[in-house]
Structures are given as structure tokens and as C-alpha cells.
């Protein structure tokens, strides 16, 4: 009996082969296949053909070993990424089960990071999400060049994620209640906020203001985007100003904070929710743990800047697991009478 799994674990892809004798060997792939970069969240479905293409080339040794002996046919049919390891409890997870469980580890309740598109469809009633503003594209006003030009970075991210920018927004229904939803996409340049993200969020706020709809923003961002300098910074003021008008109009804004919500995003709309709900153990901060550790030169306490810690300090209203998010949101909408 041979089982072949390709396991995705953040920055390491492991190829585990169980020998007939039960001994296991561990091979670390030197180079991940180009179709799935290490930082990208696991694709939602992988066909058997792509799985076959992703397999590493067998080392040519000339000598046959027990490792090479597999039941013909079975190995090629086994889709890659069918199993994965939970980074928190190290449990082996069957991908379809994980997907059914909304990318939450059934063993330890670890919330995997998901893309903006997955989030939007997960949050809204099936088939009800209607994406908007996908015609807004980033340009490179500063001609920013670091190690790689910003334009190239954008093209690369866009190819990787299939999205024009780090945001998915539009209209939808949550348990039958009409809402405006904006989901940040941490798979695209760590969800950083540049001009496009700021603009889409502002338009979402304005749409919610005009149509008197509840506004749900799911935050997942590394902060303001450096490559657009002061223009990204101004998106903080732009979104906050739009929220002020939404607030004046009596709108309901539910801010959902997911892992990670940091920097300029936390210091603007993320923390301005009428109700702020966070997913368990999400990193939520202004300055990242490494920056703080460098400033204060001391070990940070366990669980510092995680959702539960922020509830304790009084900065967020509720911690809700991904399974409960839809019912939590619809309950708040009902109480607010929106």
C-alpha cells in the first residue's frame, strides 16, 4: 500500500512517500513549481492533470529502490494539494473537508488565510455576490523601483492571483439582507492599500451611503502600500472621511478583522467600525511585532496583538469564528434595524 501526498506548509513543500515497510522518507523540494508559489494560499481545486505536472522529477539513480515501486496508475491520479498540514497543530487535513469547513482546521480551529474572492463568496448567500469596480487598475505614479520595479511586481501578483488589485468588493446578500461587501485580499501584495484599494473602499462606502445599505469590510492587510508613498497614506484619510459621511447618514459599518490587519489599514477604516468583529487569533496591530521588538528590545508577551488580547484591552467588540460570521453579521444588522 502506497500513499503519496504533496503537502503545502507555508514556505515548505514536502513530499512524503510511505514505503511498503512503513518507513517514511522526507524529501524537500528545492524549487516549488511555478504554478503555486509558497506564499499563495492553496488553490481551491486542483485537477489531476495539473497535479501530475506539479510532481517533482524523480532523481535518476539507475538503481531501483523500494521508493520507486508504486502501484501503476495510482500515483498519477493523486491530485497534489489534496492533503495539507495545519501550521498550528500539524494535523493532516484532507483539503475538501477543509474547504467545507471554510478553511478552518477542524482539529485546532486554526483559521487559514483565504483570498478576497473566496471570502466574498463565503460571506454572501450562494450566488448572490455581485463584484464591482474590477475595472480600476493600479498604475505606478512614482515609477517606483526597488530591487524589482513596482510595475513588474504588480504584473507578477496579478498573474499569481488572477486579480487586478488586493480588493474584492461589490453588492450581495447575507442571509437575505442586502449589503455592500469589501474584502481585502492578503494574497495580493499582502493586501496592502494603494490608490486602487483606497478608491474601491471609498466607492463601497459611498454606495452604502447612497443606498442606505449596511457596509461590511473584511480587512486583511499589511498596511499602506509603500510603493505609492504619500498617495497610499492619503487613502487612510480618504476612506475615513467617507466613513464620517456614512456615519452622519446613520449607516451601519461592520468591520471584520482577519489575520493580518496591520499598519495604515488598522489606523483608518478597520478600527472605525460601528461593530468590530475579529476572527480568532488574528494579528491586529498598528506596528508589527518585529518593529516593536526592535524598538523596545524585549520579548513580547504571548498572544500580544492577537484578537483575544485586543478584546481584553477593549478595542474590538467580538471574536467570532468563520463559521459564525454570517449569523453574527446578520444579527447585528437586525439589531441596527438596517
Amino acid at each position: 500500500m502506497t500513499i503519496l501526498n504533496t503537502v503545502t506548509q507555508h514556505d515548505l513543500r514536502r513530499h512524503i512517500t510511505n514505503e511498503p515497510h512503513g518507513r517514511s522518507t522526507l524529501n524537500t523540494m528545492a524549487e516549488p513549481p511555478p504554478s503555486s508559489t509558497p506564499s499563495s494560499p492553496p488553490p481551491s481545486a486542483s485537477s489531476p492533470t495539473s497535479a501530475a505536472a506539479e510532481k517533482p522529477a524523480k532523481p535518476v539513480t539507475g538503481k531501483r529502490t523500494w521508493q520507486d515501486v508504486v502501484e501503476t496508475g495510482k500515483r498519477a491520479d493523486m491530485p497534489a494539494d489534496l492533503w495539507m498540514r495545519c501550521p498550528s497543530c500539524s494535523g493532516m487535513l484532507y483539503r475538501p473537508t477543509l474547504e467545507q469547513n471554510k478553511f478552518v482546521c477542524p482539529e485546532c480551529n486554526h483559521h487559514f488565510r483565504i483570498t478576497g474572492t473566496q471570502r466574498a463568496h463565503m460571506l454572501c448567500d450562494p450566488g448572490s455576490f455581485e463584484p464591482m469596480w474590477d475595472n480600476l487598475l493600479p498604475n505606478d505614479p512614482l515609477n517606483f523601483v526597488d530591487l524589482v520595479p513596482y510595475k513588474d511586481r504588480l504584473a507578477q501578483e496579478s498573474k499569481k492571483t488572477g486579480r487586478p488589485e488586493a480588493i474584492v468588493a461589490g453588492k450581495g446578500f447575507i442571509k437575505g439582507r442586502g449589503v455592500v461587501v469589501a474584502c481585502m485580499d492578503s494574497s495580493f501584495r499582502m493586501g496592502s492599500m494603494g490608490s486602487v484599494v483606497g478608491e474601491v473602499i471609498t466607492r463601497a462606502i459611498e454606495l452604502a451611503t447612497d443606498q442606505d445599505l449596511p457596509l461590511i469590510i473584511v480587512c486583511a492587510s499589511g498596511g499602506a502600500r509603500m510603493q505609492e508613498s504619500t498617495m497610499s497614506l492619503m487613502q487612510m484619510a480618504k476612506t475615513s472621511s467617507a466613513l464620517a459621511k456614512f456615519d452622519d447618514a446613520g449607516g451601519l459599518f461592520i468591520s471584520v478583522l482577519t489575520d493580518p490587519t496591520t499598519g495604515g489599514v488598522t489606523a483608518s477604516f478597520a478600527m472605525l467600525g460601528d461593530v468590530i468583529i475579529a476572527e480568532p487569533k488574528a494579528l491586529i496591530c498598528f506596528a508589527g511585532p518585529r518593529v516593536i521588538a526592535n524598538t523596545v528590545r524585549q520579548e513580547l508577551p504571548e498572544g500580544f496583538q492577537r484578537s483575544e488580547h485586543l478584546v481584553e484591552k477593549g478595542f474590538i467588540d467580538r471574536v467570532a469564528s468563520r463559521q459564525d460570521l454570517r449569523s453574527e453579521i446578520s444579527r447585528v444588522i437586525d439589531y441596527a434595524g438596517k
Binding site: 471609498t202 508613498s229 498617495m231 497614506l233 480618504k238 475615513s240 472621511s241 466613513l243 484591552k313
Partner: protein, 344 residues
């Protein structure tokens, strides 16, 4: 800027009383000037009784000096602008308060946690205008700097600023903010007391504050820490101040993977953090001229320049009905950013 202001060295009697920290402070890109300055000083201190007159030589040297200074400051790049903005002799918030805010009545504390010395707030009179002044402060000597946390505010600083702005709103006084901070403080206490929440609330509340707001970056405009008191109807930068989403060092550390002098220069260049670039991209409205060679060479000229702009701007803003002003403030923020909209 007066084109032929005689340049003054930091040690000359024309500049503000030199604090111990700025006497021997030399910017590396100004090194060619140092020899010339020494020569001028030597000739000027020459005993006039021995019959030799050096006036002509001194005049010539001074002309040379001015020419070099102009050349250096005309082509000041991002990294050197940051150095000028951080010059210890550069006038700070407290200096400007002393220089042109008459009858400053400081109001301390956020009524919740404490009094942050990195942001000074209080009633004051600028020219003919009664206003609420909010100024970052960094401190001049070690004791002051520690008290002001090197100009990096904690959440209580932002909350104090907001409390005082609300007070100004109640009595219809315009708000003037002078920004000079490397950034909001990244520490455990600051995080636990809600640094991000404090800044976020300031952004929201300032965007709808029903009095005119005038803001100027007088030195460093470090990211959210600067914006936290920087949502305004008119936003200006002093000529050699910097304003960006992140400090060049932090940017180099993240994007270039290592903050070393070479990368810092590259980051400062890439971020386009100078007043000129910011004006070009529409993130600021105006550049306040500084005396030749930067505000640290002639603080009183710098403060005159800043005062003039504030008085002028306040006069302009007071003409607007407050609803129109709010609309304009909103429009100003609304057009920020640059993106491509593909027709659908």
C-alpha cells in the same frame, strides 16, 4: 525666500541661541562649505588694529559661500532633505510657538490617561487670529527629548489633540497643526492603549470638524503619525521637510531587505518624500519657502515665512461658510490617489 540672504553659520550670533547639540553638527553634504566658513570666521576675527583690511576678501568669500550653498541646496536629493529635516538645530514646534504664537495658553492632557509631551496643544494667537494650536515637539536636549519621546506620540497624544480640537470647534476657533514626527510610537504601551484606534478616530473626526484646519509639516512627516493630526483644509510643507508613508530607513529594511546607507538613499529617492514631489502628486497644497541653506541657518526667517503663510491661509479660509469648507475639505481628500479606470 529672499534671494541674497547673507548666509549664517550655525554658530553665528544671527541664529537662535545655539543649543549644545547643534553647535558642531555638520551635514556631510555640506562639508565643502566648512573650510570656507572657517576661513571667513578667521578673517572676521582678525584684529583690525594691525592695519590690514580684509573686508574685500571676506565679501568675496561670502559670495563664494552663498554660491556654493545655493548650488548644494538647489539639487538636494531625498536622503539629504531628510538629513536637513532632522538637523538638531532646526526650529521645532516649541520654537515656533515661542516665535509667533502670542499669548500661548497650553492645555495639557487627554482627560483619560495622561499628557503626551510629543504633542503640545493650547489656545494661542497667530497674527490677528485666535486659534487652537497643535504642535509636535521633539525636544532639544536629552531630558526634553526623553520627555517628548523624540517626537513620537502615544495614543494619548492623539486623543489629547482631538479633545482640544473639539474644544476649538465648540468656540469656533480655527485649528493650526505643526507636524514634526518620525512617526507614531511603536511600543507595547502604545499598542495596548490603541495607537491605531486613536489615529483612525482623529482622521474621521478631523474630516468633519466644523472649523477651518491648517496643517504644515515643519520637519518630519512620518506616515500615520503625521496624518493623525494632519487632515486639513490646507496642507503645506516647509521646503526641506519630508512627508511619506514610511521613513526611508524602514522602507529600505522592508523592500531592500536591509537598511544600510546605500539602500536608505535609494529608498528616500524612490519614496519621493520631498515637498516638491508631494506638491507634484497633489498630496500637499503649498510649499513654504525656507531661508537659503535650510531653517536651521536662520530660524527667524523660517518662522516669519511660516507665520505669514498661516495668517494668510486662515484669512482665506475664514471667508468660507463652514459647510462649503467641509465640502471642499472632502473633495480635497476624495481626489487623492492615482489609478487607471478602464471603461466597462
Amino acid at each position: 525666500m529672499p534671494p541674497h540672504t547673507p548666509p549664517t553659520t550655525p554658530t553665528s550670533p544671527n541664529s537662535a541661541a545655539p543649543s549644545p547639540s547643534n553647535v558642531h553638527y555638520e551635514l556631510d553634504f555640506e562639508r565643502p562649505l566648512t573650510a570656507l566658513e572657517q576661513q571667513i570666521a578667521e578673517l572676521e576675527n582678525h584684529d583690525p588694529t594691525d592695519g590690514i583690511d580684509f573686508t574685500a576678501e571676506v565679501r568675496k568669500l561670502r559670495q563664494n559661500h552663498t554660491r556654493m550653498l545655493k548650488k548644494i541646496y538647489a539639487g538636494l536629493n531625498g536622503a539629504n532633505t531628510v538629513k536637513v529635516a532632522r538637523h538638531p538645530g532646526r526650529p521645532q514646534g516649541a520654537d515656533y510657538l515661542r516665535a509667533f504664537v502670542k499669548d500661548f495658553c497650553e492645555l495639557h492632557g487627554d482627560r483619560t490617561f495622561g499628557d503626551d509631551r510629543a504633542i503640545l496643544t493650547g489656545f494661542g494667537r497667530i497674527g490677528p487670529h485666535k486659534c487652537m494650536v497643535i504642535a509636535n515637539n521633539k525636544g532639544k536636549d536629552v531630558r526634553e527629548r526623553l520627555a517628548a519621546n523624540f517626537g513620537m506620540p502615544h495614543p494619548e497624544g492623539y486623543r489629547k489633540a482631538l479633545k482640544k480640537m473639539k474644544l476649538a470647534e465648540k468656540y469656533g476657533l480655527p485649528v493650526v497643526t505643526l507636524i514634526d514626527t518620525p512617526g507614531a510610537f511603536p511600543g507595547i504601551g502604545a499598542e495596548e492603549r490603541g495607537q491605531s484606534e486613536a489615529i483612525a478616530v482623529n482622521l474621521l473626526e478631523m474630516s468633519r470638524l466644523r472649523v477651518p484646519i491648517v496643517a504644515a509639516v515643519i520637519g518630519e512627516g512620518g506616515s500615520g503619525g503625521a496624518l493623525g493630526i494632519g487632515v486639513a483644509d490646507r496642507f503645506a510643507m516647509m521646503q526641506y521637510a519630508w512627508y511619506s508613508v514610511i521613513s526611508p530607513e524602514a522602507c529600505a529594511g522592508i523592500v531592500w531587505k536591509e537598511a544600510n546607507p546605500t539602500n536608505n538613499v535609494a529608498a528616500a529617492e524612490a519614496l519621493q518624500l520631498t515637498a516638491e514631489s508631494n506638491l507634484k502628486y497633489g498630496t500637499i497644497d503649498h510649499i513654504i519657502d525656507e531661508p537659503l541653506g535650510g531653517a536651521h541657518r536662520n530660524p527667524s526667517a523660517a518662522s516669519d515665512s511660516l507665520e505669514k503663510w498661516i495668517i494668510q491661509t486662515l484669512r482665506d479660509l475664514k471667508r468660507f461658510k463652514i459647510d462649503n469648507l467641509l465640502k471642499k475639505r472632502d473633495e480635497r481628500l476624495r481626489r487623492q490617489g492615482s489609478y487607471i479606470e478602464v471603461p466597462v
